[in-house]
């Protein structure tokens, strides 16, 4: 993680000179666009030009996270941050992010953008960072609401859940046993989606013949998810479909199904990366799956961080800011900012995406 930080800083550093003018111009635009908001009085001219931003993902070297961070770093430069860093643990465990937050507090970073491995574990560290003046943007996976200024959500959590229940229902013909293969048992976003899925399965009459028989956790580990998928098949011989709301889980499960006798017999959908899923969509293991564009998530998070640092927004409901080319975003109840609707990928459109 040390190497990554150095190289990022260097790269950003060399970019800074050439992009400074462009960035300033963009910030000014963003500032004037945001002039309609009540708190915008001090924006525009007062936009900080030496602001620093640090992204703390759940775990480094995770392909999905990398796409998010790619968008985040581009967004940070475009939004006008002087330096953008990425630091974080190599494994996604509850307490692993705390030491990184503490280091950022000591470094005096202006904005911390974090995807929480655990909503509570990071709270006191974030509290200290805020006391020291940092703005906290949660993205991808929320912290407790009182520990951050805004939360950038890929999509409305409920939409993510509903698209997955809809896809699995279509793929198994509206009836039969299904199971969920998730990330860790305490992953904030997966658990929220699963809750919505369960409610939808219970309440929507279209799904009355679908029975959720198991929820298992592959811990976002390739080998573990693989073995969990296998176990599902043995424990539930009548299983018709699997929903895996995590990119590692769906890819591992797809690999297992495609190399076993269950290929084509057990449906699989969930949230996956097109690059990881391409071969499984083409060989017929998976018909359709969903995801948002992860780069946009990072981008919106960076713009939100800049607006907070500049004082353009405070994170109050109704605050508006411009996320570059993505247009205007509004802070909703609970400090929530939504990026956009999920996309469904299948063999007809998957080649149009590269992430």
């Amino acid at each position: 993680m040390f190497t990554q930080r150095i190289s990022t800083t260097r790269r950003i550093g060399s970019l800074t000179a050439s992009l400074a003018i462009a960035a300033l111009a963009l910030t000014a635009c963003a500032g004037s666009d945001a002039g309609t908001t009540p708190s915008a009085g001090e924006s525009g001219g007062s936009a900080k030009t030496d602001a620093t931003i640090t992204f703390i993902p759940k775990q480094l070297n995770n392909p999905y996270t990398d796409v998010v961070l790619g968008g985040g770093k581009e967004g940070a430069t475009a939004a006008g941050f002087a330096t953008a860093n990425v630091v974080g643990p190599l494994e996604a465990s509850a307490s692993s992010q705390v030491s990184f937050i503490n280091a950022e507090t000591q470094a005096g970073t202006n904005a911390i953008v974090i995807a929480a491995n655990d909503p509570d574990a990071v709270c006191s560290a974030l509290g200290e960072a805020r006391t020291a003046g940092a703005k906290i943007v949660a993205f991808d996976s929320d912290t407790n609401p009182e520990c951050r200024d805004v939360f950038i959500s890929q999509v409305v959590a409920k939409d993510v859940a509903l698209i997955q229940t809809k896809l699995i229902s279509e793929q198994i013909g509206g009836k039969g046993e299904i199971a969920i293969l998730s990330a860790t048992a305490n992953a904030t976003n997966q658990n929220e989606w699963i809750k919505f899925m369960e409610e939808e399965l219970a309440s929507n009459p279209d799904y009355k013949d679908i029975k959720l028989v198991a929820k298992v956790y592959g811990d976002d580990d390739d080998a573990k998810s693989f073995q969990e998928a296998q176990g599902l098949m043995q424990a539930h011989p009548n299983l018709k479909g699997i929903i895996s709301p995590t990119t590692v889980g769906i890819a591992s499960t797809a690999r297992y199904l495609s190399t076993s006798e269950y290929k084509g017999k057990v449906a699989l959908t969930g949230l996956g990366l097109p690059n990881e899923m391409r071969s499984f969509v083409k060989d017929g293991t998976v018909t359709e799956f969903a995801l948002w564009d992860p780069a946009q998530l990072g981008e919106v998070a960076a713009y939100a961080a800049k607006a907070l640092v500049d004082g353009t927004i405070t994170g109050a409901t109704g605050d508006k800011f411009t996320a570059g080319a993505l247009g205007e975003r509004t802070v909703e109840d609970g400090g929530l900012v939504i990026v956009g609707p999920p996309t469904v990928f299948n063999k007809d459109n998957i080649d149009e995406y590269d992430f």
Binding site: Q4, E228, S260
Partner: protein, 345 residues
């Protein structure tokens, strides 16, 4: 092999002639019985457990761990340990992905050889450091665990190679079966058998036991301890390399975190299989059965719909049981020996 000679140089009661075979039997028996009982009970409750697909999955799951446990046994027997095997596996697995991404037409046999050589180089680094620096291998390999993992992180970054990028024929090694066994399992079984014969039936193999029983005595006896220990690390590295290549055949993604955390599972498998953690006794076959047992526990708990959070606790109980059995056996053996010596006087 010259059993009597080794017998004389060992002060430890764990070696020599007839009693050694009784000893080995005792050490491998519990784990074998546990495995059989587990499989039978699970299959009675859920017949799907032993369906052709179920059997195949069981064997495939154990394959990687079998190789690692067999290699680790060689090292542990010499009173050493190699904690870096998970990192070696990760580096080789990612290397395999990289080779195929750059050149999909590379012959598979050549890739396997490259992987084993790569693993052997990493393993020999462990061996060199342990032998030359005379620092306990626990510390050395704890260091290389992080060094190798760091290299993997620097090399791979967020890049992952997926099964789709590798040739179909390579992936099929973990799908197609010969004699009811997936090809990669067959490879692992052959390697384990060769290693077991080497350990039991060859002079260098027996030397490893002698070194583990009493390094000083082994040195006095004229065994080149440094060279033997170095070789054990090298072979263990090569096996971890082979396991890395097979991992790339079986699983979808190989990247920076591939294989992390495996090392403790491997040591657990060896201990459960009757390999004494302080060296000098235990067999490759026992460790291999230990590896199969640990993997089978995971599979059978899932097949029986037992909450998987219990699994770790059960593995822990098994490790402690294995050590207790080991302790009881060695106490009894020491007593027998005392009595025998008493009569001689």
């Amino acid at each position: 092999m010259s059993a009597p000679a080794i017998g004389t140089l060992n002060n430890s009661p764990k070696q020599g002639g007839k009693s050694a075979s009784a000893w080995l039997k005792l050490r491998e028996l519990p784990v074998t019985v546990a495995l059989v009982v587990l499989v039978v009970v699970t299959a009675v409750i859920n017949p799907l457990f032993l369906s052709p697909q179920g059997m195949k999955d069981l064997l495939l799951n154990a394959t990687i761990m079998m190789l690692l446990a067999a290699g680790q046994t060689m090292v542990i027997v010499t009173r050493n340990i190699d904690l870096s095997v998970g990192s070696i596996l990760g580096l080789v697995a990612f290397g395999t992905g990289s080779i195929f991404a750059a050149n999909p037409n590379m012959p598979i046999v050549l890739v396997v050889l490259i992987g084993m050589v790569f693993g052997a180089v990493l393993g020999s680094l462990n061996g060199l450091l342990t032998v030359w620096a005379k620092v306990p291998s626990l510390v050395i390999t704890l260091g290389t665990l992080y060094v190798f993992r760091g290299l993997n992180n620097a090399w791979a970054g967020p890049k992952q190679h997926f099964a789709g990028d590798r040739p179909q024929a390579f992936g099929n090694l973990s799908v197609n079966t010969v004699l009811g066994m997936p090809i990669i399992t067959l490879v692992a079984v052959i390697v384990v058998i060769i290693l077991a014969i080497f350990m039991i039936g060859s002079r260098p193999g027996r030397d490893l036991y002698a070194i583990g029983s009493d390094p000083e005595a082994a040195k006095l006896f004229g065994i080149n301890v440094s060279r033997r220990v170095f070789t054990a690390f090298l072979i263990n590295g090569a096996l971890a390399g082979l396991a890395g290549v097979l991992y790339a055949s079986r699983f979808n993604a190989v990247g920076a975190t591939t294989g992390s955390g495996l090392e403790l599972d491997v040591v657990a498998a060896a201990v459960v299989g009757g390999v004494a953690i302080f060296g000098g006794s235990g067999t490759v076959i026992g460790a291999t059965i230990g590896a199969i047992l640990l993997n089978t526990i995971t599979s059978s708990l899932t097949a029986l719909r037992v909450d998987k959070f219990w699994q770790q606790a059960i593995v822990g109980v098994l490790i402690i049981t294995a050590i207790l059995i080991d302790r009881l056996a060695s106490l009894r053996h020491a007593k027998n020996l005392r009595e025998k010596e008493g009569r001689n006087v």
